[in-house]
Symmetry: C2
């Protein structure tokens, strides 16, 4: 499954990223060479360099200023990614925690196959009776329970010969993402999330070793494949005293130049 023939854009991308990581442009203003120079150095066309720089810009790694130059966003390079960025990127918190060196422990509270019930709407299942794999977990890091998570995966995504063992396979996987890729051969393209503040309440308090009257971040989400098929529903609660999320906010489309 390894791709040969890595596109030039991605090679340039990697070069630039590792140059930035190595602190190549860490001097005063962090300005990169001009696009023309980069094109010469990498022996590619300027369009290819621009493509790579555009991707770095949308990722927030670099800031381009018309008539001035391209600069590394030093805030990003100075602040290593962690659980804080989980809400911005789309991947499991277990991965986010391990990449931070947090050594997370996953405790599976429940893994069963049940009718979807009210979740059928969000998962675009025809009826409340369609079966889903329910996975309830608590993630602990450095001895403290941080996250309670409840996932529902439509059983129909699993090849029929594996459906009987669905609950088992899911509970043994590192994360829902990996489970979907390994057994369902599908990949999460994006997630639609909603975040709000709630009180822990009795159930969460007991599994998170928290007080019922303490605040939590509640993130509800649906993951979709590239062709907009719902892959799973998630309801996650984060201890308000231990977890926060970071985000870079930026206007995306500039639709202000309306002529009419």
């Amino acid at each position: 499954m390894v791709r040969r023939n890595i596109p030039l854009v991605e090679q340039v991308l990697h070069e630039l990223v590792s140059d930035i990581d190595r602190g190549e442009y860490a001097h005063a203003d962090g300005m990169l060479p001009s696009e023309a120079d980069l094109a010469l150095n990498f022996k590619v066309s300027r369009a290819t360099v621009r493509d790579a720089l555009s991707r770095l810009e949308t990722a927030g790694v670099v800031i381009r200023r018309h008539g001035v130059g391209t600069f590394v966003n030093q805030f990003v390079t100075e602040h290593p990614a962690g659980l804080q960025d989980w809400f911005e990127e789309a991947h499991g918190f277990v991965d986010a925690l391990t990449s931070l060196g947090g050594d997370p422990q996953v405790l599976v509270l429940r893994s069963v196959i049940e009718p979807a019930g009210e979740m059928s709407t969000r998962l675009q299942l025809p009826s409340h009776e369609n079966p889903v794999i329910i996975l309830e977990k608590v993630i602990t890091s450095a001895g403290a329970p941080l996250i309670h998570s409840l996932n529902a995966i439509p059983l129909a995504l699993l090849p029929s010969e594996l459906q009987a063992q669905g609950a088992e396979l899911a509970s043994q996987s590192d994360s829902t993402f990996r489970f979907l890729e390994t057994y369902c051969h599908c990949r999460v393209h994006h997630q639609q999330s909603e975040i709000r503040a709630t009180l822990a309440g009795a159930h969460l308090a007991s599994v998170l070793a928290y007080a019922p009257t303490e605040p939590c971040l509640r993130v509800e989400e649906v993951a979709y494949s590239v062709d907009l098929v719902p892959l799973f529903y998630g309801l996650n609660h984060f201890r308000g005293d231990l977890v926060s999320f970071r985000q870079i906010r930026r206007p995306t489309l500039n639709l202000t130049n309306v002529p009419s």
Copy 2:
């Protein structure tokens, strides 16, 4: 300050957006014409069409599938933007509320000039003594107080002849964004935000007509100009029962094709 000579990419962008809004591609799968066809119709090169489509894709309006086609993300077209999207876009909540037809009321609780104190670090001011404009507001919509916001703007951003009236001018502006553009001639490029869950507490409860033991979303942020000068610090609290934020989460950079 109006730009003539609107770039072709932006014109194509607008055409596509209004076509999508008009429901031009609202049939079954929402597939757009091929890039080659669009280029022919708009009488531009395919590269220009691709540029426009790329921007729509990063904005989440459109999904491109290699070898298949380009499709409108019907979730986005079906769910009109509102305050929920405030945390993803970077603009004031007053604008977000008005665009929703919410008719927000702004109550200025305080507008004074004070030493920056502990906020000097985040605003990259040389000393705690540097003056900032403090602006404390409550935003009410449909009779309910939704948001408490505290902003601190370095006084030095204001032209010296206006600094004496700084607090007044800020309190009379619709939003901090407009104040910065109108009087300081600078524009917010992006914001670094952090979101967490807290309890309201005594002060917030009184101004938000809420109970002290109820949950709030707490968003702390610093806005930067394109050359990374901090423009303002913001500390915002949202009533947990009335406000939630939506977000599309998606992996940004694909750095998995690491050859070495």
